[in-house]
Each structure stands twice: as structure tokens, then as C-alpha cells.
Subunit: 220 residues, 2 copies
DNA sequence: CAACAATCTCGACACCCTGTCGAAACCCGC
DNA sequence: GCGGGTTTCGACAGGGTGTCGAGATTGTTG
């Protein structure tokens, strides 16, 4: 509930202590309906009428709770965002464990977050191309993971465990982009993909060699 | 012109030697209009009416040439596909050069192909989430690059230059996915990105360390 | 308990977009 | 100058979005 979209008719009454017998229920019903329908077909194919009917109200009534279909998605994304940020945060705290375990944790949390919210993630990936708000919110989530990675790389370099090389930021962006695309492809069945069971191992392998690498390619 | 969508009214007359004074012109005019408009705003926001008017015909007349807006995109994508396949193909032939140069070539061709057709690539990335034909054609393009990479990795391993490790296929998928996402993000200004000038170098660095890697991470 | 205001609901409307149909105009070889 | 393929478009049907204003419902308050 941080972004500008906020529900329409209720924006001004949000903080009151009483009332709204059916209002909150309805808002939640719309969100629940959206999540339910999204697991069955792409978000783009779900009409506002579908959401309204699913929540037991008429289409115009829908607009009392949300200004548009995208606003529903954005609210759903907010939840994922919070969870993803939390997941990214906790990994940094584990300093005691060995590096391989820590990196594995980072990657598998990323992957798990995607998978746990498959429908929302898929819908956002699509909506972000047309909706600036979705694009920015999504970018912010990614940015968190990138920064988390960057910090960890720098720490490893400082303690002499990882060699210098690419700017940590660039490396972090590249590796997280790989994770995003590979994980997405696995979930969406979109393009060349890695077997679901191997995804984390494959990604980890590339991460480790890129971060701790020591060889340059031999000549011909 | 290989896929099923083919133009509507002209399907049966495609191979004839005479006639069609204005027909072919119009078809090209539609394609040209699409490319022109796509550079200014997202494909999703361009209506069939826009394309028709741009080509100097009415909306119903558009349907004589293409069965839908997506069919136009698909035709545009066909061109990119051919160019991309050609680019992927030529890299494999250069056996004489040193590995680093070959890999760099592979990556930068990929990147250049994307950049040269920015608008089409962006539109396809969006359309592929809703249109199975676009999705499959796009996946096929990616698959070519993956196979090209896979073959090259295996060759390096056979000659003892690269160590064994991940299945070549998985590694190739992961690295190409990284390229796709990083390149896309750079073009679309979408999410955390690497500076345009550094993209190829950053990607190359990760590729080389993943393919020729020799170290495992140190313990804590 | 009546009346007021906030909350909530929906029928009806304006608008935009897609895709189709059938009638008509056009161009060609004969 | 006629017949057949090619090309064009007005008009329609259907479905989606977003808005408006009138009405129903409900909690609060004098």
C-alpha cells in the first residue's frame, strides 16, 4: 500500500477505526479472485468483469475499489515485493557459513520466491512492458537482489577470497539477470530452459566460476 | 514467409508471375508503417487502423493483407530470424582464430542483432507472452544460439582447453539467457542494466570464466 | 428515532478496438 | 466490352474499458 495507485473510493477513509463491513471484504475478494483466475489463464485474458463477478459485485462497483486491472496486479506485486526483500535481506546476515552455502542460499531463495508466486510473476513480466508502475516496482525488487549480490562480492574480494575483475556492480547485474531469465523461462515454459530440478545447481555453478574465477582462456 | 500465418487474400496467388500492381506495394507499406510507428511507441499501442492509414488504405483492407496485427509482427520477426540465424552460423566457421576472439564475436553478434532491430525485439518480447506463434519463433531463434554455444563448448572440452563440468547444454542455456536478459534490459531501459558500452565485455568475462573455470570457492 | 453523510452499488452511456460480410470498383487477358 | 481474379471499403456485431449519476445501505448523531 505504498505506491500511488491505492484503492479509489477508499483512499480517504483508510485510517478510520470503524465501519466498512463489506468494503474490506470485497477488496480482498477481488484480490483473491485475481489470484485464483491467474493460475488458470494469463492475466491479460482476464477481464474486469471476471474479477467483479468473482468477487460478487458488478463491473462499475469494481472501480470503487481499484482504478484499473493493473492496480490489482500492483497490489498483488506489493506482497511479493515484501517477501522478496525479506528473503534477500536474511541471506546477508549469515556470515558464519561457508561461501558456497551462502551463494546457494541466495540463488535458491530468488528461485523459490519466483516459484511461490508464479502467476503474479508471469503477469508482471508481461504487464511491465506496458505499465510504468509495474516496471518500476519490479526493477526495484531486482535492484535489491543486485545490491545484495554486489555487497557480498565486495566482501569476498576484501577478504582476499575472490579476485578482482569486473566491477562488482556489473557482475552482480549480469548474474542476477541470468537468474531472472532462466527462472522465468523455467516457470513459463518459454524458450530454451534448464530442467526444473537442476536450475539452482546450474546457476550456482556459473556464479561461483564468475566470482572466484582464476583462469583466462588458453590460446588456440 | 515460412510459417502458418501467411497473408490472407494472397495466399493462393503468391506464386504467380503477373499482376498485383498495388498489392505487393501495399503489403510492404504496411510493414514499413509498422516499423516506423514501432520506433515511437510500443507495438501494443498501435492499432490496426494506424497501420492501415499509414499504408493508405482502410481498416478492412488491412485484413486483405494480414489476418491480424500479430501477423505483421511475425513477418517482421521472420526477417530478424533469418539475420540472427545467419549471424550465429558464421561464427562457428571461424576455427582458426583464438578462443577469446571467437567467443567475443558470438556475444557481440548476438548483441548487435538485438540492437539493430530494437523495436521488433521489444515488441516480440511483449507479444510472446500472449501469442504462441511469436513465442515459438522466438524460442527457435534462441535455440539456434544455444546450440551454437553448446557445440563450441564441447569442441573446447574435446581439445582439452576447457574442463568438464556442467552439461554443455545447461551451461549454454544459462549463458545465452544471461545475454538475452542483459541485452534486453539495456535496450528497454528496463530494470538494473549495464552501461551500453560495457555490455559485451561484461558478458564475455562471465562466459570465459564459466567455460574455462578451474577454481572452486575457498572455504570460510 | 429520524435525518444526515459516508459508503457502496449498479444501469446506462460513450468510446475504442477487433474481425467479418457483402457489395462494388478495378484491372487484366481475351 | 466481357468475365474472373484482385482489391477496396461501408456497415455491422461483439466485447472490452472507464465514467456518471441516481439510488440503496449503513453507522453516527442530534
Amino acid at each position: 500500500m505504498t505506491t500511488a495507485r491505492a484503492a479509489a473510493g477508499t483512499a480517504s477513509t483508510r485510517g478510520r477505526r470503524v465501519g466498512r463491513r463489506s468494503g474490506d471484504q470485497r477488496e480482498l475478494a477481488i484480490l483473491a479472485t485475481a489470484e485464483r483466475l491467474m493460475t488458470g489463464r494469463p492475466f491479460a485474458e482476464i477481464s474486469i468483469d471476471d474479477l467483479a463477478r468473482g468477487a460478487g459485485i458488478s463491473r462499475p462497483a469494481f472501480y470503487f475499489y481499484f482504478p484499473s486491472k493493473d492496480a490489482v496486479l500492483l497490489t498483488l506485486l506489493d506482497r511479493v515485493t515484501e517477501e522478496a526483500d525479506a528473503a534477500a535481506g536474511t541471506v546477508l546476515d549469515r556470515v558464519a557459513e561457508d561461501p558456497r552455502t551462502r551463494w546457494r542460499e541466495l540463488i535458491s531463495r530468488f528461485h523459490d520466491t519466483f516459484r511461490a508466486h508464479r502467476a503474479v510473476v508471469l503477469a508482471c513480466a508481461q504487464a511491465r512492458t506496458t505499465n510504468p508502475e509495474v516496471r518500476e516496482l519490479w526493477a526495484a525488487v531486482l535492484e535489491r537482489w543486485v545490491r545484495c549480490t554486489e555487497t557480498a562480492i565486495e566482501a569476498e574480494r576484501r577478504r582476499g577470497a575472490a579476485p578482482d575483475g569486473l566491477p562488482a556492480r556489473d557482475l552482480a547485474v549480469a548474474l542476477n539477470s541470468m537468474n531472472e531469465r532462466v527462472t522465468y523461462a523455467t516457470l513459463a515454459g518459454d524458450g530454451p530452459a534448464v530442467a526444473e530440478a537442476d536450475v539452482v545447481d546450474v546457476l550456482l555453478d556459473v556464479w561461483l566460476s564468475a566470482i572466484y574465477r582464476s583462469t583466462t582462456p588458453p590460446s588456440a
